[in-house]
């Protein structure tokens, strides 16, 4: 079950090597995204696109807010 985290925990996990994934549409990612985040829009999240993620490290997903 995915765990919800806050900003403080996010920063700790990023420092420890977690991966950051933005799932908003690509245009929104191009305009503004968190440092180091990669983009896989939710509609494109599938077996092919996740190949760019490292399964051995935690993955943190985010979008705009609690939507």
């Amino acid at each position: 079950m995915p765990t919800t985290i806050d900003r403080s925990r996010l920063r700790e996990m990023l420092q420890a090597g977690a991966q950051l994934l933005e799932v908003l549409p690509r245009r929104e990612y191009d305009e503004e995204h968190l440092p180091g985040a990669i983009s896989i829009p939710l509609r494109e999240l599938n077996r092919a696109t996740i190949s760019q993620l490292d399964r051995s490290r935690p993955v943190i997903v985010y979008c705009y807010d609690y939507q």
Binding site: I5, E22, D30, E32, V59, V61
Partner: protein, 166 residues
Amino acid sequence: MSPRAAWRLESLGFTSVFDYAPGKLDWVSAGLPVEGTAAGIPNLGAVARRDVQTCRLNDQLSDVKARLASDPTAPCPVVNDHRIVLGLVRSDAIKANGAKTAEEVMISGPVTFRPNVALEEVDRYLTDHKIGYAVVTTPEGELIGLASADQVHRLDAESLANRASN
């Protein structure tokens, strides 16, 4: 959206998945850096003053006036224990109603702005509606700070000029 993405990743075999549910807006609200084409364009969160005086519903305006002595033209946001904005007392109302409480003279439900809004958009809104200050809050209504219309206008003009010269 992100909860569904997190569950989808688990369905695809990922075993260590986390959801930063407050999202991009929370990050920007905290004034943290971002990357992307809009990264260099100043937004309201970058210019809002965060050390603003606030008052409570029952505060007497003579006391509020004393607290605002260093910035007598600024309005005073009325907040609760969670720093949620309940109202706004204009500076002229503070000066003219010393014996009244903030609740008696406040503007209920003032217009508020999110910190990620571009200065250009805020500048236009404040000018069109003749508003002297932008009250900046989180999506939940928690006060972040205030930005004066003059300051927003000046920094927006500077930003436009810089971008035009580059």
